[in-house]
Structures are given as C-alpha cells and as structure tokens.
Symmetry: C2
Subunit: 131 residues, 2 copies
DNA sequence: CTAGTTGCAAATGCTTTGCTTCTGC
DNA sequence: GCAGAAGCAAAGCATTTGCAACTAG
C-alpha cells in the first residue's frame, strides 16, 4: 500500500455514493498532492477493483467509473436509475431481483455470480418540469 | 436509404441473435462489397439505432455492439447472461422484471422507459467441465 | 440540381504500456 | 538491497470528424 493508492482509496471513502472516473480522481488528487500521474490512477483503480474495494460502473459516457463497494449490501448491490434528461444517477436498493435470478438459474442452469442492472428513464423532477 | 445502409441492415436481418460490433460488420461487408468505409458503418449503426431498428448492447469488451430489435418482445427486451469462463452470451426472455420496475416507480417516482440488464456467471457447460 | 452521403485520412479521447527512476520494507 | 511502484511520454484502440468527391431523388 503506497501513499498514492491510499489517497485514491481515501477519496472514494470521502465520497461514498459518487461515481468517479479516473479523470475525476486525477483532478482532485492533483490539487492536493501535486505529484501523481494519471497512469498511477488507472493502475490503482484496477487494483482496488480486483481487491473488491471498488466496483466498476458504466453510464455510457465512454469512460469507466468506480464507486465504493458496500459490504453491508451483501452480494447484491444497488441499481442505478439514469435520467435521460438531466443525467442524474439515482440509487435504489435491490429487493426483487433475487427471484428473477433464481428463476433464470432454474430454467437455464446458469450460475449467476454478479449482475449489472441499469434503468433508463426520467426522474421525478424532470417529469414535472415539462417532460 | 442508401445501398450501404441497406447492406448493414440486411446483415443484421441475416444474423438475428448475433451481437455485432462495427468492426464485425466492416469485416463481413468488406468481403462482399469491397467499397465501404468504417466511418459509414459507424454512421449507419447510429442511424439504425435511432430509428429503433437496432439495439445497442455492451459486453465490457470495450466496443459497442448492436443486435436486431425484436418488436414481438414488446417494450421489454431479453436479458443477456455472460459466461465468465467461455464468454458465451445466452439470451433469456424477460419475465419477472416488470414487478421490479413498477415497485421502483412507486417508490421513487422515476419513470422507466428502458433498461439494461446483464447477468454475469458461469454457463452450464463450463460448470460441468471443472469449474 | 442539390441536399445529403460516402470514403479516406487525420484527429480525438480514454486507457495502456515501456522504461527509467524512485521507494517502501 | 531489491522487488515492486510511480511518473512521464509515447503508443494503442475504438470512434468521430473534416472535407472533397459522389449520388439518390
């Protein structure tokens, strides 16, 4: 564990619930500790994701984002609601996906170990402010 | 509708159920009609997706893939099971997601118009051939 | 004719890699 | 002291864009 890796991890701890890209991390750490390279960020993010501390997420903006892994959620993580109008990301907990997974395993014999679920639509605010 | 666009669409019609990247399309059409540029492929794919004829899909291999949109499935499409070992993609129809979406809308007021669902795990064959 | 499309090549933007220097243990 | 890590800059890829030539209607 080097100071650079600690700094990256600490940033995610400080900003639980945010979805940061490598560039985001770079910009913040740049300000604090002037000497960190973008390559190191990429390497740290990959390492932390492999260690299970970070979770990769993707919102179709052509860059990989990461968020803190939350062990209290158990094996299943939350889902993301992506607003088509304002781009806001809303998180919802995972209640009803379990039965769907059980059903799929029963039908196909496929053993599910992870999932990626994203719902696209319009958030409450954007619906109200003139669709 | 130009001959190039027709050719791209025809390829997807001929290969229902496959998930083709721009490069895939390019390689095939290259063989047939020698004169088609990769830029045209990208532009055609985007156009056909906007027209609702193709559906964007993504399997974390760092390239955008497309598949035929199937209107018989109604608004809801099928899900993809991605095998971690052999990379095979299995399709399953959407049975149980509707209640989850209804629940989310009730709880959050978010109006869902589309979703992206992917399950990662191990297919039957890979489980049997020594995990 | 004329707007819209194509092909090519150059440009873009995210991410990875090579390699030398540095550093934690 | 040494294996592993960091920094920098160059390389890699998928995708996009500028632009002149072309083509469908």
């Amino acid at each position: 564990m080097t100071p650079q890796r600690k700094a990256v991890l600490q940033l995610f701890l400080d900003r639980r619930g945010e979805h940061l890209s490598a560039e985001d991390v770079y910009d913040v750490l740049r300000g604090e500790k002037s000497d960190i390279g973008i390559a190191t960020i990429y390497r740290s993010l990959e390492l932390l994701a492999e260690l299970g501390l970070l979770q990769r997420v993707n919102f179709d903006d052509d860059r990989t984002r990461y968020e803190m892994y939350d062990p209290t959620e158990g094996g299943h993580q939350h889902h993301h609601l992506v607003c088509k109008k304002c781009g806001k990301i809303i998180e919802v907990s995972d209640d009803l996906l379990e039965p769907l997974e059980k059903e799929i395993t029963k039908k196909t014999g496929f053993k599910i170990v992870d999932h990626q679920v994203k719902f696209i639509g319009y958030c409450k605010e954007c619906q109200e402010s003139g669709d």
